[in-house]
């Protein structure tokens, strides 16, 4: 095989690994949107909080890495609930655009508060996982781990949503919110549950990201937009659509980045998104 082809293949496989991670990130956002009908614009900032949690617990307080990660998942889940109770709940009856904007305000707040609390330094977990060689190609073990954990997380979520009573209620509430009480379901409680789950998924994403990237207050901006766009392209609220879109986007980024340059990969992905919106405004699997 020619060298070019080998690297292209490596880029495609790396794109696949990235796709898994992006799919996990978009899953939480889609879950929230599907259930509560709001977009958490500050989703990536919750992830940032989770990354800081892992960093501080592990590096400053010397917790074992896995314990720090478990704690981060719980912390971000709690943040999700707080976000819902104090920010989303008061605007549930307001115009949809206000619901979008209010979480944008939270984005601003979290970013600034992180700068205030942690400074603008890039912080590194200091954990380096080896890279894995496969013939002439090499892959970072951190990515492979992230991919596997993301898939496991999504599988777990899938089983929960399809098998359990609460999971079924979560899917049902997006289809007809008004009659949920007739089923004995309290929508308010399902909202809290979904917010906690969405937060926990953000926390899990944080654990996987902090293995690969430095954390700093603005890190949310580097993968927040891509996460929304994946959700929109998949069809807001459609978890399966988001899953597909994540892998499509990841290929654009990875292969586009390989053929041209990293930013061009992103530019291609975003341009593709805009074109897709005109072709299928409701998203790949969306309904409107």
């Amino acid at each position: 095989m020619e060298v070019f082809d080998i690297f292209l293949l490596e880029a495609i496989l790396n794109g696949l690994l990235l796709g898994g991670l992006l799919a996990l990130l978009s899953l939480g956002l889609n879950l929230i949107f599907g259930v509560i009908d709001v977009v958490w614009i500050c989703y990536a900032e919750l992830i940032m909080c989770g990354m800081y949690a892992v960093y501080y617990l592990h590096v400053q307080y010397h917790w074992p890495l896995l314990a720090a990660m478990a704690a981060a998942v719980v912390i971000v889940a709690v943040l999700g609930v707080i976000l819902h109770q104090f920010v989303i709940r008061p605007v549930l009856g307001a115009e949809p655009i206000n619901q979008l904007l209010v979480t944008g305000g939270v984005l601003f707040f979290l970013q600034a508060a992180a700068t205030l609390a942690f400074g603008i330094e890039f912080r590194n977990l200091g954990v380096t996982l080896p890279s894995i060689r496969l013939g002439e190609m090499s892959f970072s073990a951190a990515r492979l781990v992230a991919f596997c954990v993301a898939l496991a997380g999504m599988l777990g979520m899938y089983l929960f949503l399809s098998r359990s009573y609460l999971g079924t209620a979560i899917r049902a509430i997006s289809q007809d919110r008004a009659i949920m009480p007739l089923m004995g379901v309290s929508p308010a409680r399902i909202f809290v549950l979904a917010s906690a789950l969405g937060g926990a998924l953000a926390g899990l994403g944080a654990c996987l990201l902090v293995l690969q990237y430095d954390v700093h207050p603005a890190i949310g901006l580097s993968f927040g937009p891509i996460t929304f766009l994946i959700c929109v392209m998949g069809g807001l609220g459609s978890m399966a659509g988001g899953f597909i879109a994540a892998f499509v986007f990841a290929q654009f980024i990875s292969v586009g980045g390989f053929l041209f340059h990293l930013e061009w990969g992103y530019v291609l992905a975003f341009a593709f998104f805009i074109a897709m919106m005109f072709w299928r405004p409701q998203g790949i699997l969306g309904r409107r």
């Binding site: 079924t168 209620a169 289809q175 008004a178 009480p181 007739l182 089923m183 004995g184 309290s186």
Partner: protein
């Protein structure tokens, strides 16, 4: 024994009163109809019983216990299952998942298997289509699924809101047969209908609701004989 009683219940929607001092009683084991023209407040009456909307005054009692402090999502655990107007299935959940939603209350989950069997026994068609999204069912099948979903909670009292609406005449017949069978099973039923002639054959008693007020109450024989009902609602 008294199953359900409403005493001088008033209710409405922000700034609009839809029910005026409505009193209704349903005995255990009985089937009772509420009839009346469009917009009379029949759906509102059922909504206020299952607490989807609050009563502004008056009292609602289920088996003697007031529902005043019971939150909406706990009404079903008191034994009241409401089949809403237009069926309101979850269209993208499968038939069986819709039925599972009916068994959401903790006490109902324990008896899920046995009730599922019972519902499938009552509606073999649903079992054939258990894995199909509910939105793809025919109108009659959807109504069966909606009733089945309500039965999954193991209710004592079944509230049915226009189960025959929008169905083909043959199917309407099937639905009324079904309601009769359900009554025969010992369920207490409060049914709202526009299809007055048919429903009066199924129930023992009825109320006439007009513009949010009870105008007439009596057994179905009296209703069928009433000049007013015959002229206005049966076109005789």
């Amino acid at each position: 024994m008294q199953m359900l009683s409403l005493t001088k219940v008033c209710a409405g929607y922000s700034g609009f009163q839809a029910l005026f001092e409505v009193s209704v009683e349903v005995e255990a084991g009985e089937a009772v109809a509420v009839i009346g023209p469009n917009g009379a407040g029949k759906t509102t009456l059922l909504r206020v019983i299952s607490k989807l909307i609050g009563a502004t005054s008056g009292e609602i009692r289920m088996e003697g216990a007031s529902l005043a402090r019971v939150p909406a999502h706990e009404v079903v655990s008191r034994g009241i299952a409401h089949v809403p107007e237009n069926r309101r299935l979850f269209p993208r959940l499968t038939v069986e998942e819709n039925l599972r939603m009916g068994a959401f209350p903790r006490a109902a989950r324990k008896r899920y298997g046995e009730r599922l069997e019972f519902v499938y026994g009552l509606f073999p068609r649903l079992e054939e289509r258990r894995g199909q999204p509910a939105g793809t069912l025919s109108g009659g099948e959807q109504q069966m699924c909606a009733i089945g979903r309500a039965l999954m909670s193991g209710p004592k009292l079944l509230l049915l809101d226009e189960p025959s609406a929008g169905l083909a005449p043959v199917v309407v017949q099937a639905i009324f047969d079904l309601v009769r069978r359900i009554c025969a099973q010992g369920y207490t039923v409060l049914i709202v209908e526009q299809n007055i002639r048919q429903v009066l054959k199924v129930v023992g008693r009825a109320y006439l609701l007009e513009a949010g007020r009870i105008r007439l109450a009596g057994n179905s024989r009296e209703f069928l004989d009433s000049q007013e009902i015959r002229k206005t609602y049966l076109g005789l």
